[in-house]
């Protein structure tokens, strides 16, 4: 641990990230309110692969000029361990959260490799019960599914790439309100990076976990080393003058984007009086091949 700034210390450690399969979904609708509703619903209950089918979030809002059909839209990112899992989740989520929302349409946002693509529209089309039709436009096929306000348009195939999940920062703070402010600023800075999502609610995790549990049925359990109320009972990672810890988790479409998000997140935290220490979660290098060394990313020398 090295003193860098009178306000915060960046620990000489790394965030341990791992590869995930990613799909980008472009959702459009007649107005941005409907886009937001569909986007929030489709990316809901998708905070952690530990307990959800996917990790997902809103990458960015899109202007009408940037969408395939000239309407307001949003870019959504979905992460999963494999293409079959991702395909199943997307069919369910688009079918239940986007198809059901008035005026929406749904497009692929990544290049399609026929051997690595997800068949989405070609499964959702069966909702049309034989009345569905398709159009091939610019080399891609789109399914037209009759619905009560007209038609739902969905692209047949969605591309995938190998992305990076599990990028993270943990901030230890000397007061609760200031810590939350710092976490919000950090999340906002990381979320601004194109191709990065923060899958947890508001982008902030207050229940950081460790692998395993004393209960065999659980894959993960609370990370007691960062629980301020357990300092007297367990080996703690919390300095004496800290009262709260938060974790910001970031998934990205590639390693570069997660590194950039981490750099911006650290920069945002360094400006906050209440942040005492910045660290990251890792499992000794056993979980994933991507090690994001905080001090290197922040442009500092490592110990």
């Amino acid at each position: 641990m090295t003193e860098m700034d009178p306000k915060a210390v960046i620990e000489d450690t790394f965030a341990e990230a791992f590869p995930l399969t990613v799909a980008r979904v472009i959702v459009t609708a007649d107005n941005s309110r409907l886009v937001q509703s569909a986007a929030i619903a489709a990316t809901g209950f998708a905070s952690s692969i530990i307990g959800c089918d996917v990790e997902a979030g809103i990458d960015c809002d899109l202007t009408a000029a940037a969408t395939p059909d000239g309407r307001p839209g949003a870019s959504l990112l979905f992460f999963s361990f494999s293409r079959p899992l991702l395909e199943k989740s997307l069919v369910n989520r688009i079918g239940q959260a986007i198809l059901t929302c008035p005026t929406t349409a749904c497009y692929n946002g990544l290049p399609v490799d026929p051997e690595k693509c997800l068949k989405i529209g070609s499964q959702l089309r069966f909702f049309g019960d034989g009345w569905q039709g398709s159009k091939k436009i610019g080399g891609s096929r789109f399914w037209r599914i009759p619905v009560m306000d007209g038609e739902f348009l969905v692209e047949e195939q969605f591309g995938t790439v190998k992305g990076v999940g599990g990028g993270n920062l943990i901030l230890l703070c000397r007061d609760a309100a200031g810590g939350l402010d710092a976490a919000e600023a950090c999340a906002a800075a990381m979320r601004d990076v194109p191709g990065v999502i923060l899958p947890f609610p508001h982008g902030i995790v207050r229940s950081g976990s460790k692998v395993g549990s004393r209960y065999k049925a659980l894959k993960a359990s609370t990370n007691e080393a960062y629980c301020p109320t357990l300092r007297a009972l367990v080996p703690t990672q919390m300095p004496v003058d800290s009262v709260v810890a938060y974790e910001i988790v970031a998934d990205g479409i590639d390693l570069v984007s997660v590194e950039e998000a981490t750099r911006r997140g650290i920069a945002a935290l360094l400006g906050h009086q209440s942040v005492i220490r910045i660290t990251a979660g890792n499992y000794g290098g056993k979980l994933g091949p991507f090690h994001l060394y905080l001090r290197t990313i922040a442009g500092l020398t490592r110990d």
Binding site: P68, G133, K136, I137, G138, R144, G150, E151
Partner: protein, 270 residues
């Protein structure tokens, strides 16, 4: 870039299907000059009709002169670019599967007939049966895009199977006759009996409402999202004329009920 300049105008048509990036790329000028063409029923060399300059190694060909009697240019091409500075005869881009053909003047009958991919763009008018299927064929155009800035003749998109035909001005009779799928968009007047016998295709009439066959049934007012997509797609390939119209609402008529009845004719909503 290879430049072919027409040496003289013809009364008897010349069949020059060798003028295609697929055939000419990689050939030396002397080899290109020796390629065979048919002038009427006589076999002649390309050099008898065109002067040849440059190289087609970049798969880019420019044809200059009034080629309205030169047939089969770009037939079966699958890649590269063919630009015709002037008008061109029948069967331009017939059965092409890729690449781009740009014609600055008019094109004859059967432009893009049975094509399966690529882009055929004609700045002027085209004759009959653009994108259609040849007599006896099961289907016509199977993919790709035909853009016609002027008028198109009769039976445009007949037996259409897939793909997009955009005519910025008027279209003749029997547009989309027996079409199986695909889309024809007419910016101007649509002739008699559009969509007769069609099964699944879409015909979009952006001009005056056409007189429809009684086997087409009113099916509501719609604003199809795929038309907005086509409007945006057309902008990306430099076609701006119809873009905004495709964002409007259309009256949908389903038909042809003598066939499967899953096709549609869309006319601009009042």
């Amino acid at each position: 870039m290879l430049t072919l300049s027409l040496l003289h105008n013809h009364l008897v048509p010349v069949e020059a299907e060798c003028i295609s990036p697929n055939t000419l790329a990689g050939l030396a000028v002397c080899e290109i000059e020796r390629l065979s063409v048919f002038h009427g029923n006589r076999k002649e060399s390309l050099a008898d009709h065109f002067s040849v300059e440059g190289s087609a190694s970049d798969e880019s060909i420019v044809v200059k002169g009034d080629c309205s009697r030169i047939k089969w240019l770009g037939a079966s091409m699958s890649r590269g670019t063919l630009r015709v500075d002037g008008s061109v005869g029948m069967h331009i881009g017939s059965r092409m599967s890729g690449g781009e053909i740009l014609v600055s003047g008019d094109a004859g009958d059967w432009a893009g007939a049975e094509m399966s991919g690529g882009l055929l763009k004609v700045h002027g008018n085209v004759g009959n049966s653009a994108g259609a299927g040849y007599r006896g064929s099961v289907h016509g155009m199977k993919g790709g895009t035909i853009i016609i800035d002027g008028d198109a003749g009769h039976e445009t998109g007949a037996y259409l199977r897939r793909g997009l035909i955009v005519v910025q001005k008027s279209v003749g009779d029997f547009c989309g006759f027996n079409a199986l799928a695909g889309t024809v968009i007419a910016g101007g007047r649509l002739g008699l009996r559009p969509g007769a016998g069609m099964k699944r295709a879409s015909i979009v009439a952006c001009g005056p409402a056409p007189e429809l066959l009684p086997t087409f049934q009113w099916s509501g007012v719609v604003a199809p999202q795929y038309l907005r997509m086509i409007g945006c797609h057309l902008r990306t390939i430099g076609v701006d004329g119809l873009g905004q119209i495709l964002f409007r609402r259309f009256v949908r008529y389903c038909g042809d009920m003598v066939a499967l009845g899953k096709g549609e004719i869309l006319t601009l909503a009042p």
